[in-house]
Amino acid sequence: MPGIENANPFAYVSTETIPQSPPPTAAKGVAGWLKTNLFATPRDTVLTIIVALILLWIVPPMLNWLFFDAVWTGDGREACLGEHVGACWAFVEAKFGQFMYGRYPAELRWRVDLTGFLLIAGLVPIAIPSVPYKRENAIYLLVVFPIIAFMLLTGWPFLEPVETSRWGGLLVTLVVAIVGIVVSFPLGILLALGRRSNLPIVKTMSVIFIEFWRGVPLITVLFMSSVMLPLFLPADVSFDKLLRALIGVALFSSAYMAEVIRGGLQAIPKGQYEAANAMALTYWQGMRLIILPQALKLVIPGIVNTFIGLFKDTSLVLIIGIFDLLGIVQQNFTDTNWISPATPATGLVFAAFIYFIFCFGMSRYSAFMEERLDTGHKR
C-alpha cells in the first residue's frame, strides 16, 4: 500500500481545545436574520421589496376600513352614511342577537346558551388528550348531550316549544354541523366497512352510495331534501324542514367520512386482523376491540378536516331558505333601518370572521393532533 510506510508529514495532534465561539454577525442577530430570510439573493431582495410594497398598499386601507374609519355605535343607517365611512359595526351590534340565535324567542335564549355550555363542557375535556374518561365523555357527547340538547332547543316535551323555523344564525350553523358529524360518524364507519367487505352486493352498494354522494353538489342534495323528499314519502308522512336539511347534510358527509375511515382501516396491518382471528374473536368483536380503535385514532385529523368542510358547507342551507349565520346576515341587509353602502360588506366580514374563528381553531387542533399522533405512533 502506498504511503503507509513513509512517516506522514501531516501527522498532527491538537494541543488545545478551540472554544465554542459565537457566529460572525452576518449569521446572527437581526442583520443575519434579515439577510437569510429576506435578502439572501438579488432575486429574493426584489421579491421582498415588491411584496412589501403590495402589503403597504393593501394593509393600511384595510385597517382604516376595519377600525379607524369604522362606525362603532349608532342605531340606524344614518350613523353609517357619509363619505369616508368604514365598516358599520353598529349594525352588527344591533343585530348580534339575531346573528347568534335567529328568531329564537328572546326570553328563551337561555336555553340555547345552556346547550352551548353543555356542549363546551363535553368538548373541552375530550379535545385535551391528557384528560381521562375519554370513553365516558364520548358517550356523553354522542348520546346524552344530543338528547338534552334536543329537549332544550325544541322544548319538547316539558318546556315551551320553539319551532325550528324560528331557529337561525350561528345556532342553526352549529346544529347542522354537529348533527351532521354525529350522524355521519357511525354511518361512515358502516359504509367504510361495507366498502371493504367481500360480500359483493354489500360492497357494490357501499361504493355506489359513497360515489353518488361524493359526486353530486351539496346544494342539489339540499334542494332535493328540502322540497322533493316529501314526494318520495307516503302522502301522510312529513318532516320538519330543518330535519330534512340535516338528513341531506348527514348523508352527504357520511360518504366523505366513510372515505376517511376507510383510509384508517387500510393503514392497519393485516397482521392485526389475523391476530384477532387467531384468538377466536368474531368479526364484530375484532372490529370493535382491535381494528376500529386503532383506525379511528389514526384518522382523527381526517375527521376534523371533514368537520371543517361540513361546518363551512352549512352556509349552503341559505340556498334552501334556512337562515343560518350567513343567511340571517344577508337577510338583514334588506332591513330598511340599516341599509347603507357599508352594511353588506360589514355583515359579510363579520360572518367571515365567525366562520374563520371556528374553522381555523379546528384546523389548528387537527394539526396539533396530527403532530401528536405522528410522534406517539411510529411503528
Binding site: 397482521g271 392485526q272 391476530a275 384468538m279 377466536a280 374473536l281 368483536q285 380503535p293
Partner: protein, 260 residues
C-alpha cells in the same frame, strides 16, 4: 370450552393414541397456483414438530390452514377431533384450542400488555376480568416480564414483544400451539430469550408445530422435523437422523446451506 384456572401442566410424554392434528390429502390453491399438494400429517398430542424448508415452500400456508386463517380446498383437516369446514362455529372452537404466534408478533398497539393478554379470555371465554388478569399475570411471569404488564407494546423490545405474544396465546389455554418463524424478526440477542421460552413450553408437553430455521432449537426439543419443498412434505424424521443423515437430495442441499 371449559374454563380453567392458570394451570401448571405436568411434564408429559407424547401420547400414543390421542391425535391432536391430522391433515389428510390436504390441498390448497391460491388462484391457479397449487401451494399445498396432498399434505398428509398426523400430529399426536404432546408432539413437538419443527417444519423447515426453503422460502415459498408453503410452510406458513400449511400452518395457517390449521387454524383456518387460510381456507383449504381439498382434503381434510381435523384438529382436536373437529373437522375444519365452513362452519363458523367449528372454526371458532378450533381457534380457541389452537394458539398462534406470528413472525411479527402482531400485538395490539393500542392495548397494554395486560389488556393484550386478557382480551380474548374476557371476550371469547367470557371470563371475569379479575380472573383473566390473574391468569395473564401468571403467564407473563412464565415468560419473565410481569413488570411490563402495564406498558404498551411499542415500549418493549422485539424479544419482549414476542414473549408477550406467546403469553397472550397461552392465556387462552390452548391445547396446540403454532409458531410461524417466531424468531426471524428479532435481533440475535433477543432470539435466545424467545427460544428459551419456547423450550420451556416444550418441556411441559405442549403440542407444538413450529416453522423455524433455528436448527439448534430443533435438535433440542423436536420429536420430528418435517422438510417441505414446493408445497409438498419431502422428508420427515427425528432430528438426529434428519440432520445427520438426510435422505432426499433437496434436504441435503438445504441443510448444506443452512449449516455451514
Amino acid at each position: 370450552m371449559s374454563e380453567q384456572a392458570a394451570p401448571a401442566p405436568a411434564k408429559m410424554e407424547v401420547s400414543e393414541t390421542e391425535v391432536a392434528v391430522e391433515l389428510i390429502n390436504m390441498n390448497k390453491w391460491y388462484g391457479e397456483f397449487h401451494v399445498l399438494r396432498n399434505i398428509n400429517l398426523k400430529v399426536m398430542r404432546g408432539e413437538r414438530i419443527v417444519i423447515a424448508g426453503p422460502s415459498g415452500s408453503g410452510k406458513s400456508t400449511m400452518i395457517r390452514c390449521i387454524n383456518r386463517l387460510e381456507e383449504h380446498q381439498k382434503g381434510k383437516i381435523i384438529v382436536d377431533g373437529i373437522e375444519l369446514t365452513n362452519d363458523l362455529k367449528k372454526i371458532d372452537e378450533v381457534r380457541r384450542e389452537v394458539g398462534m404466534v406470528f413472525q411479527h408478533f402482531n400485538l395490539f398497539p393500542h392495548l397494554t400488555i395486560l389488556e393484550n393478554c386478557t382480551l380474548a379470555p374476557i371476550w371469547v371465554r367470557k371470563m371475569p376480568k379479575k380472573k383473566a388478569e390473574e391468569i395473564a399475570m401468571h403467564y407473563l411471569e412464565r415468560v419473565k416480564i410481569p413488570e411490563q404488564a402495564n406498558k404498551y407494546p411499542g415500549q418493549l423490545s422485539g424479544g419482549q414483544q414476542q414473549r408477550v405474544a406467546i403469553a397472550r396465546s397461552l392465556c387462552m389455554n390452548p391445547r396446540i400451539m403454532l409458531f410461524d418463524e417466531p424468531t426471524s424478526a428479532l435481533d440475535p440477542e433477543m432470539i435466545k430469550e424467545v427460544l428459551d421460552t419456547m423450550v420451556g413450553l416444550a418441556e411441559e408437553g405442549m403440542t407444538m408445530l413450529c416453522v423455524t430455521h433455528e436448527m439448534g432449537f430443533a435438535r433440542q426439543v423436536a420429536n420430528r422435523v418435517i422438510f417441505m419443498d414446493q408445497g409438498q412434505i419431502v422428508e420427515q424424521n427425528d432430528p438426529i437422523n434428519f440432520f445427520d443423515h438426510p435422505q432426499h437430495e433437496r434436504t441435503k442441499l438445504f441443510l448444506s446451506q443452512i449449516l455451514h
